[in-house]
């Protein structure tokens, strides 16, 4: 199979169209199974009670938030190096989903923190760097939105994305160090409690569901972006006419 065949927007568009429903269905099934495990199968935690079930949403969201930023940087690097239009489209299509997961991670974290720590927010290293990650997502999206010329918007966003990905470890390290020096909160997320097997399964299934959701949404968004950019080409016109 020749992968380069699908590097062109005109061939990628129908492929993505075929894949989106599959990923969407998978995401739906996995979410249902994952939520069932999370709410009915997984045992109640003897320390945290029922409130711990938030982690079934929180942990996959946090994983995805970081992973998507790295994937975006990967597509940005490929796009800048080989000047492939599709890579920029993928990087751009992923950004809103990544920002959404970052926000969900922060939000569910706050809901978890209130009963467990007694505070909606503490300046823990992980929380702080997740917040800064949200700022980085917002920065990339704001820059792309501010530039009308798609070519320039793609490249500028990709550059900022790469600078961000170099900075993320430095930020994480500096925030961790800042946090330990201040000794503000005695709570730490780093001491992960050993979990029951079913809890782990619930989390993994939810993580897979988040993956499938991301793929479905990103591909659907990429399709719209491709149509918008290629609207003057013949194949895109043909697609649009069929739709109309």
């Amino acid at each position: 199979m020749n992968w380069y065949h699908y590097a062109s927007p005109s061939t990628f568009y129908p492929l993505a169209g075929k894949l989106v429903p599959w990923f969407a269905v998978l995401a739906f099934i996995l979410t249902t199974v994952g939520l069932y495990i999370s709410f009915f199968v997984a045992p109640t935690d003897f320390q945290q009670g029922e409130g711990y079930r938030i982690i079934f949403i929180h942990v996959p969201a946090a994983w995805m938030s970081m992973f998507i930023y790295v994937v975006m940087a990967f597509w940005s690097a490929i796009g800048l190096a080989w000047n492939t239009r599709l890579s920029f489209v993928m990087a751009r299509a992923l950004a809103p989903t990544g920002a959404m997961f970052t926000f969900v991670a922060l939000w569910t974290g706050a809901f978890w923190g209130k009963p467990m720590w007694g505070a909606w927010w503490v300046w823990d290293a992980r929380l702080t760097s997740e917040l800064i990650l949200l700022f980085l997502y917002v920065g990339v999206m704001a820059l792309q939105a501010a530039i009308d010329d798609p070519r320039r918007a793609d490249r500028a966003g990709a550059l900022l994305n790469l600078v961000g990905v170099i900075n993320v470890p430095i930020i994480y390290f500096s925030v961790t160090w800042w946090n330990t020096l201040h000794q503000g909160s005695s709570v730490s997320l780093a001491r992960a409690p050993s979990m029951a097997q079913t809890m782990l399964w619930g989390m993994l299934v939810m993580a897979l569901a988040a993956w499938m959701y991301t793929l479905a949404v990103a591909l659907a968004r990429a399709r719209t972006l491709i149509l918008d950019r290629e609207r003057r080409t013949e194949w895109a016109r043909a697609v649009l006419e069929v739709k109309a």
């Binding site: 800064i132 700022f135 920065g139 704001a142 501010a146 550059l159 900022l160 600078v163 500096s174 020096l181």
Partner: protein
């Protein structure tokens, strides 16, 4: 090569010297932001001493952002920038020179004013010395990283507000290590580690930032 670099720096510094109004705005902004904090949180000397280093550092970040937009914008508007990019010298030298000039114009005055503001916040002498030292290492980072933001947002609507969104998250390590160094003196835990890390961050930015902002300039101008 060096001559080109010096020419870029000299030109920007001269231009800033001829237009003192623009240049003084950022400095007074710095002073005012710092002076507003005691009005907001109260004049208690103990508390001011605790928040002082952080406040001066945050104000330094904001003041450096305020003047970023002009780093390339004037030259872009009258077409000088395109000619500079067409010159046979590497574009990284141009962006490096612009960042150094920005530091000379905006960073060095901050170093001179900072001790006065530190006195207002009741900081002891050793802490004042450390404040100036940390700013001396840290403000070049702000100019270097800022040059990336200025190049990316060149000629955009609302570029000034946009550049703050892009660049402030990247400033976080400089803020933590810079303010941390001064606090290390205050709390007696030492500040060598903070200064070393700040210096390391400066070296990384010095290596990468001119290169990235040269690429960003090309993207923005073409």
């Amino acid at each position: 090569m060096l001559k080109f670099l010096f020419t870029v720096i000299r030109r920007d510094v001269l231009l800033a010297g001829r237009r003192r109004g623009d240049w003084l705005t950022a400095q007074f902004f710095f002073v005012m932001v710092v002076s507003l904090f005691p009005l907001g949180v109260g004049p208690e000397p103990g508390m001011l001493r605790i928040i002082g280093p952080g406040v001066v550092w945050v104000a330094a970040l904001l003041a450096s952002l305020l003047s970023l937009e002009r780093m390339f914008a004037d030259d872009y508007r009258d077409g000088t920038l395109e000619h500079m990019l067409l010159s046979p010298y590497p574009n990284t030298l141009l962006t490096l020179g612009k960042a150094i000039a920005h530091w000379i114009i905006n960073g060095i005055p901050l170093l001179l004013i900072a001790p006065l503001l530190g006195i207002q916040f009741n900081l002891p002498t050793e802490a004042l010395r450390m404040l100036v030292l940390s700013l001396a290492i840290g403000t070049p980072i702000l100019s270097l990283l800022g040059s990336i933001g200025a190049a990316l947002t060149l000629g955009l609507r609302g570029g000034g507000a946009l550049v703050t969104l892009l660049i402030l998250p990247l400033y976080v390590p400089a803020l933590i290590f810079g303010a941390g160094a001064v606090e290390g003196v205050l709390s007696g835990t030492g500040s060598e580690a903070h200064l070393s890390l700040l210096g390391a961050f400066l070296m990384v930015s010095l290596l990468l930032a001119p290169w990235v902002s040269a690429m960003a300039l090309k993207v923005s101008v073409e």
